[in-house]
Structures are given as C-alpha cells and as structure tokens.
C-alpha cells in the first residue's frame, strides 16, 4: 500500500467537515468502515488516498433498533450482527440470510452494512491497476472484448460491471430507505435511488458527493400477507459474489398477487428492479404460467456478451422458483 494518514473521527459531523475540507484542499481521501473492500483496492493501488477517514471510532453508529415503523440499522453495524439479530431473523424475511451468505465469516465480522452498500465493483479489470478502464478514467471497458463471464447482461454500457452488494438487492426488495449525512445536513432517500447507471455516470456506482456519508438504513415492516424469497447463485459456498441473485417479496391474498417486488443481483451495474414484471404480476394469480411470464418480462431487453449468456436462463428460472415459493 502507498503511504497515507489514517484519521480516527469521533462524530459524523467531524467526518463530514474533514472530508469537505480535504476536498477543498484537493487532497484525496476515502471513507473507511470495516476496510474489507477498500484495503484490497489500496493494496492493488487502484485507490491511493492520502487520507483515510476511519468511521469505526464514531460511537453510536452501530445499532439495530426495532420500532413501530420498522427497523433502523446504523451504518457501522456488521454483516454478522445483522445475520445474528433475532428480530431481523424473525421479521425481515431474508435480510439475515442475504447478510449471512455474503463473503466469508471473517469478512462479515469486519464488514459493515454501510461499506457493503458503498463497495466498489469486483470486476477483475477494474481491480487491476494494469487495466486503465473507463471507471478509472481510461478509454474502454475491457469486459466488452475480454473475459466477461461475470459481467452485466442488463443496464450495461458503456461500462459493464455488476454491482457487488448482496445486501442491497435484498434491502430494495424490502423497500429500504437510507439516510445520508453531508455538508448540507441529512436526507433520507429510497435505497433504489442511491445507485447510478453507467450511462448516467460510468465513474461512480452511487450518488454520494464529497463529504457525504451513508449513516443509516431504514427498513419498514413487511406488509401482512407478504412472503419473501432470497437465493444467491455462486460458484462456491464462501467468498463468492453472486453470479445471479434474486430477492422477491410478494404480498398476496388467496393466491392473487396484491403487490410484488422483484430485484436481481449480479446482472447489472446496479441492483436491478424488474418494475415491468412486478406490474404485470399485480392482480394476477401466481402460478407456473405467470411465474414464467414474469421471468420473461424481467429479462426482456437483456443484452448478454459472449461469456455471460448463461445468466439469462439462470435469472429467469430463479425468478420462477422465487415466485412459486412466495404464495
């Protein structure tokens, strides 16, 4: 790793002020929480900040609170803490499972929910300093002509990364919102609106501006009659990111769908919400026929590359399986 200065901050306010100041002075800085993602990027010299702003020393940013409106989870809460929390296990359908199937035990003990949502891509071209790819300010996305077996089939172009977070698609299916604290104060937005497609800006994965920090995740209680399903396909049981993951929440009455959320992971540069497919399902009986149609609609418009065609069939059948398990 290149040299840098680690600065332990004691409050969100201090972090925001410091980040803003460094930005104004044109010094490079990165926020760090668990460090499980960022440190690898720094060892590879893809990230070479002069300053690390360490959030872990902020007291009171690690909590899971259950309230009448839902759960509030502090940004520094670890994936292990989310996986093991009794209330989360009992009430938030698959969130514990999604957190518990990310990475490995050691990474979940260190990795935080804030860092999980804000992590940079795990595209092998992005992660190597030898490939000056689009996302690092270079001219091309190497995935297009290179080995693209793990890259995007939906929403890609000009960059074809897939968003690596396992918790984000699950949280979006649950209707989560996030709190962002920055120089202008606090704002709460739907998590879905946090992510940025490469056609909008291919150098970033989310809307965070210099000085802004993700401070809290808010998850409403699932509506009565809701059933959830989460499944992550990966090549081995530990460490691996999703090749394709599906998170579905279906609220139904007598087998008829009232409301549905279908979110895919591992297929697009952002957690991919299949809005058209959700709309199609509303008011319909959930059976093998409609489940298959939902899969078709969700993958309509997929543009695979030479090595990742397989993801289309995989996503379709995962959606089918998810919906049939949800009524």
């Amino acid at each position: 790793m290149k040299s840098f200065a680690n600065i332990d901050v004691k409050s969100v306010r201090e972090a925001v002020t410091l980040l803003q100041k460094l930005h104004q002075e044109k010094k490079s800085a990165e926020i760090v929480s668990g460090g499980t993602e960022l440190l690898q990027l720094m060892k590879d010299r893809v990230a070479t900040p002069q300053y690390l702003i360490n959030l872990k020393t902020i007291p009171g940013l690690n909590y899971i609170k259950e309230e009448r409106s839902g759960f509030r989870i502090g940004a520094l809460t670890t994936l292990t803490e989310i996986e093991e929390h009794k209330g989360v296990r009992e009430k938030l359908l698959f969130l514990s499972q999604a957190a518990g199937e990310a990475a490995s035990p050691q990474l979940r003990n260190a990795g935080t929910i804030g860092g999980n949502i804000c992590q940079r891509p795990f595209c092998w071209y992005f992660r190597s300093a030898n490939f000056p790819c689009l996302r690092k300010g270079g001219g091309i996305c190497y995935a297009v002509a290179g080995d693209n077996r793990y890259h995007a089939i939906l929403g890609g172009g000009p960059s074809y990364i897939v968003h690596p977070s396992d918790t984000a698609p699950a949280l979006i299916a649950l209707g989560a919102r996030i709190k962002i604290t920055g120089p202008a104060g606090e704002k709460t937005i739907p998590l879905e609106k946090f992510f940025v497609l490469p056609q909008v800006d291919y150098k970033r994965e989310n809307i965070l501006q210099p000085g802004e920090i993700l401070t809290e995740v808010q998850i409403p209680h699932p509506k009565p009659g809701s059933k959830g399903f989460y499944h992550k396909v990966r090549e081995r049981q530990a460490w691996d990111h999703a090749i394709v993951s599906v998170s579905t929440v279906v609220q139904s009455k007598g087998g008829i769908c009232q409301d549905a959320h279908v979110v895919l992971g591992g297929v697009a540069p952002i957690p991919w919400r299949a809005a058209k497919a959700e709309a199609f399902l509303r008011g319909k009986k959930v059976d093998e026929g409609t489940a298959r149609q939902v899969g078709e609609i969700a993958l309509d418009g997929a543009r695979p590359m030479k090595d990742n065609v397989y993801k289309i069939g995989m996503a379709k059948s995962l959606i089918q399986r998810a919906l049939l398990a949800s009524v």
């Binding site: 680690n6 440190l39 002069q50 050691q106 990474l107 003990n109 001219g139 000009p158």
Partner: protein, 206 residues
C-alpha cells in the same frame, strides 16, 4: 459518447496468462498476481503529511506492546515482522484465503485486512496465545490427533476460526463447523479432517 469498444481489448488468452492459476473459476479475483513487475516496493517518495505513523498499544495474547507503526501496516505485518508472531501466516494478503486469521475481541478476522493502527484497545489472540504453559489448547490437540495439518500452512488460520466458533458455541454441529471454517482455504484439501478435529472437541462439550 460512443463507448462500445472496438479492437484494443485484451485477449482472453493474455488475460488468463497474466492472472495466474488460482483465481480462474471463481467470481473472486486475485489481481495482485497480474503484474510480476509490480513488486510491492515500499515507496520512497515523500507524500508529506499523508505519511502516517503512530505509536500504538497493541494487546496480543494478554500482553501489551508499545510500538511505532506506519498507518499502512496491516495487523498481520506488525504481528509477524515487529512482534515475531509468525504463526499467523500470510497467503493471499487480500482477504481470500484465511491463513492470517486471528481472533479480535472474540471474533475471527483476517489480520491482512485490518490496519494495526485500528487495534488500539482491542484484545488480539493469535495461535501462539492458545497454549497454557506447555499445555496445548484442546483444539490444537485435536488437530494433531485427527491429522488436521498436511503441509500446515493453513492450519493456524483454521484453528483460530475453529477457536472463535468454540468460544461462542462450545457444542457446534457439523454444519456449523463447516460454516465457521468456510473462510479458510486448505490447498491440501484436508477439509474433512479439519472438520473432524473441531467436532472431536465439540463432542467433549468444551
């Protein structure tokens, strides 16, 4: 801007050549192997104020050490190079193998993926801290009895993951043991014996 890429890509063959063996076939990648010329030389250029150094108190195996570290030093580097706790191994140095596993405040962590400067006030336990006097920890005994180590490189990491599990759950079942060891690779493929060793201790109700 039209960014559909023409021409200039890397060929799959060049790419595989550069990548080295281990990573192919997995969505997790080891780009550190990509450039043989990119040896991790410690930079000599002065980055001014950003060259962080601090004196810290590190508590390892119940003893406190006061030492000066660079902010970029990982816990694994300081344990091995400054304190001589070389039982902690560094395999991948990027959170993908588990050889560097230590216990921090009762939980397993990759010491290659923690900065030493973050460890102030924490209790660190390494493989050297398991034995009491000249008596090995039951989990160490069980690894010997069950032929847990083959080449032995992953063993201290496996044992620390197992110990972290047993500290929280003295009687785990096989699925729990396999899950707890899932962040530790064994290139010798000796998983069944490692799991058997942990189960042997679990069976004794420790």
């Amino acid at each position: 801007m039209d960014n559909e890429v023409k021409g200039k890509g890397v060929s799959r063959r060049d790419f595989l050549k550069g990548l080295g063996g281990g990573a192919i076939g997995s969505a997790v990648i080891s780009t550190g192997l990509l450039d043989p010329n990119k040896a991790e030389a410690y930079p000599t250029e002065s980055t001014g104020t950003s060259r962080g150094k601090s004196t810290i108190n590190l508590k390892v195996n119940g003893k406190s050490y006061r030492l000066e570290v660079e902010h970029r030093d990982t816990l694994a580097e300081v344990l091995r190079d400054q304190l001589g706790f070389t039982g902690t191994k560094v395999g991948c140095n990027r959170g993908e193998c588990g050889a560097c596993t230590v216990i921090i405040n009762g939980r397993s962590f990759y010491s290659c993926s923690q900065l030493a400067v973050w460890m102030e006030g924490k209790e660190i336990l390494t493989i050297e801290g398991l034995e009491k006097g000249d008596k090995l920890d039951p989990i160490q005994e069980a690894f010997i009895e069950n032929d847990g180590p083959q080449c032995g490189f992953c063993t201290s990491g496996q044992i620390m993951s197992a110990k972290a599990l047993l500290l929280r759950n003295p009687g785990p079942n096989e699925a729990e043991v396999r899950n707890a060891l899932s962040g530790n690779l064994c290139r010798c493929g000796n998983y069944n014996r490692e799991v058997a060793a942990v189960l042997a201790v679990a069976g004794k109700g420790r």
